[in-house]
Amino acid sequence: MLEMTMTLEEIAGLHRVLDPPAATIIGFSPDSRPSLGILEGIQRGGYKGPIHLVNVRRHQAGESGYLESVRDIDGDFGLVYVLLSGQAALDAVLSIQSRPVGVVIYGGGFADSGAIALEERLSDWASTRFPGPRVPVLGPQSMGVFSSTSGFFGTNSPIPEPILPGGVGLVSQSGGLMGTLARALTTRRIGLESGIAVGNGRTTSVFESIIALLYRDSVNLVIGYVEDASNLELLSQVGEVSRQRGKPVLLAAGGASEVGAAAASSHTGALATPERLLRGVSRQFGVLLVRSPEELIWGAEALLDNDLRNPRSPRLAVIGFTGGGAIAVADELSRDGTDLKPPSSATTRMVLSLGAEHSSVLNPFDGGASATNPSTVKAIIDAYLTDGLYGVYIYIAGAGLPPPSENHRRQLEIFAGSIREAGTVGIVASVAPDGQSGAWSIDGVTTARGSHESAVKARVLRDWANTTIRWRDS
C-alpha cells in the first residue's frame, strides 16, 4: 500500500472549506465584479454565517459595514478570500492572527514579479503559522468553492443557478473552467456535490483537493481539470484513495508542464513527455484520463448513466442494425488503437443462425436494416451479452436520436433492458451529432451523439473496466 502524504486532518480541513462557519473578504469593493460575484454567491444559497468585509480605505472614509483590518474581526474568520495582489495579498494573509478554515487567493493575486517567492512564503505560512494541520490555501488564481450539500456557493466562477445537486465532485485548476464544466454538467442533468477551483495549487494542490473530495460520503465520482500534473507521487495517491473508496476519478489535463525533460539523451528520457508520464501513471493507479474538458463531460455522463456499474470486461462489442454506423464507430475507436475482437465461435454460430449469414465481420456487427423483428434483435444482443468476452456494448441507433419511430425506440429499449439485466454497461450511439445532448435518454445506459463522443464514452467505460478489474485482482 502506498504511503499517503496527506493526513486525515488535512482532508477534514478541506471539507470545512466547503462548509465554513464564517466568510471574510479582504479587499472587498462594491465596485469590483469579483467582489460582488463572491458575495452574491455566498448569499445566494441562504448562507447563515457572518460575512466580514475588509477594506481599509472605505473604513477610513466612514462607510459602514467595512472593517479596517482582519484584526477587527470578532470571532471566527471562517474562509478568507483575499482580493488583493502581490505583496499586499501576502501581507493580508500574514496578518491573520487566528486560525481560519482556509484561504482563497483570488485570480491575479500574485501575478507580478517575485510570484514564486511570494507563493513559497504563503506555503510556509500555511504549514507553520498555526499548530495542527496545514491551513488549506487555494490559489493564487482560485475562484473559490461551492457545495450543494452545505449550500455554500463562495465562488464567482459562472456556475449555474440553481445548481443541480448530485454526487459529482469537481476540481479545476482553472476557475473559469469550473463554471463552464458545472454548466455543461447541469445541462446534461448531472448533479454536482461540490466544486473546488484550485488555481496555481502550490500550497493545496489539485490532487490533494481530489483526494479530499473522494473522502466525502456524498461524492460518488470526482472529475478534475488539471494543468500541472507534475506531482506523480500525489497522482498515485489519488489512484490509491480512488481504489480504497471505490469511486472513479476522471481527469483531463491541459497545459502540460516540463516534467520529463531531464536526460533527454536517453530513449527513456526523451520519451518521458508530460503526457506520457501522466497517461502511464494514471493507468498504473487506475485514474481515468481523457483529453479535454469536453471529453470530461462525456466521460462523466457515460459512467453515471450506467450507474457506475463495473463492466465485466474491458472488451468492446459494437452492434448495429441500420446503415454503416457500426463501421463509423469502429473506425473512430481504431484511430485510438482500440481493437474490436471477434466473438467466440459459439456466438458466431448463434448470430449467423439468426439470419445474419451475409455478415462476414461480427464485431462490429452490422445486421442491416432487414432485422426488424424484436425477438431477433433481442436474440442477437443476448448472444453477444452471454459471450463472456465483452463488457462494454455499443448499440448503433442508425436512425439517430431521439429514435424516429416506435420500432426504432423498441430496439433501443430491448438493448438497454438486456444491458441492465446483465449488470454491465452500454452506449446507445447515434453516429450523427443530431439532437440536443441529454435531451433524450434511456434508463440504465448512456447515449452518445456522433462517432467521436461514442468512442470517448467507450474508452472511458473500457478504462473503468480495466481499473475495477485491477482493483479486484490486487
Partner: protein
C-alpha cells in the same frame, strides 16, 4: 565511455556491464574489438554464427549503416569488422544474432525533484514510438502484468517482461545500478526458438563524477 551534453556519461558494452548484471534478461554472446591487431583472433574464435557486427559508442547506428546482420562466417566477420574500423573507428563488437519478431524497450529514469524512479516499457527497436508506458516506482507485478497484455500476447512472455522490469527497478533502487540516472535496454526480444528474453543493446547514463 562517451560524454554527452550536460553532466551525463553514457556507458555501453563492457563499461555498462557492472550496472546490468542483476537484470532478468539474457545477453547474446558478444566480443568487442578494441585493438585492430586482434580482429582475426577474435573473429576466428567467435562461436555463434550468424552474427551481428556493430560500431560501438555511437547513436543511431542503424541509420548510419553501422549495424550489419546475418554475418554467416568468421571470414565474413573479419572483413566487416575491418571495414567498420576504417569507417567508424574502434571499438567494434560482434554479437550472436538472436532470431526474433517483435522488439521491446525497457528502461529506468530518475526524475527530480524527489529522485523518483520511473520505469518504461513498450514497443522498441528503431521504431520506438508512442506505444510505451511509464510507471512510477514502486511497481507492483499485478500492475505490470495488466499493462503488458497490451504489448505482448502470452502469459509467459508477459511474466518474463514483468520480471525484467522489476529487476531493473530493483537494480536502480538498491542494486548495482544505483548510480545510474537512466538505463535503456533497446531492443529487448524473445528468441524465436528458445523463447528466452534477450537484451540486444543497452546504454547506462550516469553522472560523469560517478563513472568508473
Amino acid at each position: 565511455m562517451k560524454q554527452t551534453e550536460g553532466v551525463a556519461a553514457v556507458l555501453t558494452g563492457r563499461d555498462a556491464e557492472p550496472y546490468l548484471r542483476t537484470l532478468c534478461v539474457n545477453w547474446p554472446h558478444r566480443a568487442v574489438v578494441v585493438d585492430g591487431s586482434h580482429v582475426s583472433d577474435i573473429c576466428r574464435s567467435f562461436p555463434c554464427f550468424p552474427a551481428v557486427v556493430k560500431a560501438e559508442g555511437m547513436s543511431h547506428r542503424n541509420q548510419s549503416g553501422a549495424v550489419w546482420t546475418n554475418i554467416s562466417s568468421y571470414e565474413e566477420a573479419e572483413v566487416v569488422v575491418m571495414g567498420f574500423i576504417t569507417h567508424f573507428g574502434l571499438p567494434v563488437s560482434i554479437s550472436e544474432q538472436i532470431p526474433h519478431s517483435e522488439e521491446f524497450i525497457l528502461g529506468g529514469q530518475r526524475r527530480t525533484p524527489k529522485d523518483q524512479l520511473l520505469c518504461l516499457f513498450g514497443r522498441g527497436g528503431v521504431t520506438v514510438d508512442d506505444q510505451v508506458t511509464y510507471f512510477l516506482s514502486p511497481l507492483q507485478e499485478s500492475q505490470l502484468l495488466a499493462e503488458l497484455r497490451d504489448y505482448v500476447d502470452g502469459a509467459n512472455y508477459q511474466k518474463d517482461l514483468s520480471s525484467a522490469v522489476l529487476s531493473l527497478e530493483a537494480s536502480m533502487k538498491s542494486g548495482p545500478a544505483q548510480a545510474a540516472e537512466a538505463i535503456d535496454l533497446n531492443p529487448v526480444v524473445f528468441h524465436s526458438l528458445s523463447h528466452q528474453l534477450f537484451a540486444l543493446d543497452a546504454k547506462v547514463f550516469i553522472r560523469s563524477d560517478l563513472a568508473p
